[in-house]
Symmetry: C2
Subunit: 212 residues, 2 copies
Amino acid sequence: MIKGKDGSNIPKVVIERLPRYYRYFDRLDGEMEKISSKKLGELMDTSASQVRLDLSYFGDFGQQGYGYNIKKLKRELANILDIETKKNVIIIGAGNIGRALTRFNALKEAGFNLTALFDVKPILIGERLNNVLIRHIDELSSYLESHDISIAVLAVPKAVANKVVKTLIEHGIKGILNFSRTDLDVPKGFPIENIHIMDKILALSFIIRANK
Amino acid sequence: MIKGKDGSNIPKVVIERLPRYYRYFDRLDGEMEKISSKKLGELMDTSASQVRLDLSYFGDFGQQGYGYNIKKLKRELANILDIETKKNVIIIGAGNIGRALTRFNALKEAGFNLTALFDVKPILIGERLNNVLIRHIDELSSYLESHDISIAVLAVPKAVANKVVKTLIEHGIKGILNFSRTDLDVPKGFPIENIHIMDKILALSFIIRANK
DNA sequence: TAGATTGTTAATCGATTAACAATC
DNA sequence: TAGATTGTTAATCGATTAACAATC
């Protein structure tokens, strides 16, 4: 469990909301100087209580009678999210999703440094995409041994996903962002985030139909 | 609120778990004939209670002393998720993400029929991607009027996202899958699902660092 | 000073898990 | 029949909201 300010455990839901707070303070920066938890709650469609409690896990950032200074909070959140530090990332799978993410320049702005792409298809190997070299998946192990990579983005067919995961974990990858259409076998507590596009559109579709 | 089996409200969290159940029954189909909530819970890394309670919102699909028949449950879930029925989808934004999704053939298998892509860039208009025509965003209103579209996938820069959303909603779109890097202004209760890739990787990165 | 608003603790709400009678 | 396992209700757990003393 992850510890906050005074050693208290930070709930996972709170951590997952952090980037959203950052987005709001980033957007408000330039527009106004300060904001109260009440106003921010209205803007973010949540309660003032939740805003205050969420932020309080990380520090005492506000001031009574004033609220939260936007420039300050943006800086604090950038710090908490470690946006300044470069973090090396690789993408496994140079298919539709892998290629789209390679060109997704916003990653760089948030400190993510894409160092390599991996695939199996011979025609792709050696190609450069957005100046990133596509390597053969067989090189993955040795690459991981000789480079300090924090995050692997998994964008491979589900049939091979867990084989790749095994290699990644054996070679000390620190976290996985999973776009593959299956759940991954990772040790309990291992840092992983799943993006299941199909699950999202199916749930959306269900909700639409139920609304009728 | 969405009603289940006997008029009881189905919690949103349960609905969002449905596609995952479908994935598991789809995967198990062919491997075995039946499964108990206990075994499925272990497989899905959840509790037997949750499996039983979740499924019970939609019907009495199991049998005491036997468990759940896999073929039957796969069929039931496909039915609940309405996978057989064709649902028309458009994508707004023919950038990296929009283009990747256009080529994402799994959508078709789940009943989603991509009918058009929209963008502003003159060079892109008229092009065909995976046999789908790219149209100019100015045609969006009239296109929505003359076609029966359920879902719009939004993959445009955040600066224009809410302008597009306004048009979509005015012309009766039923739901939005949002990939744009901002929260959208939609009426309370409007069906929307957000995929914030950057939020996910930032949360992942935070967790990795906190683990040290 | 008076008004505003924080950070935190207590109360409430909702979701998950445990227990168990029903029954295949 | 005995064992297994469901569907459901009750108990527990965790997350959200309300309340409020502290203080800018």
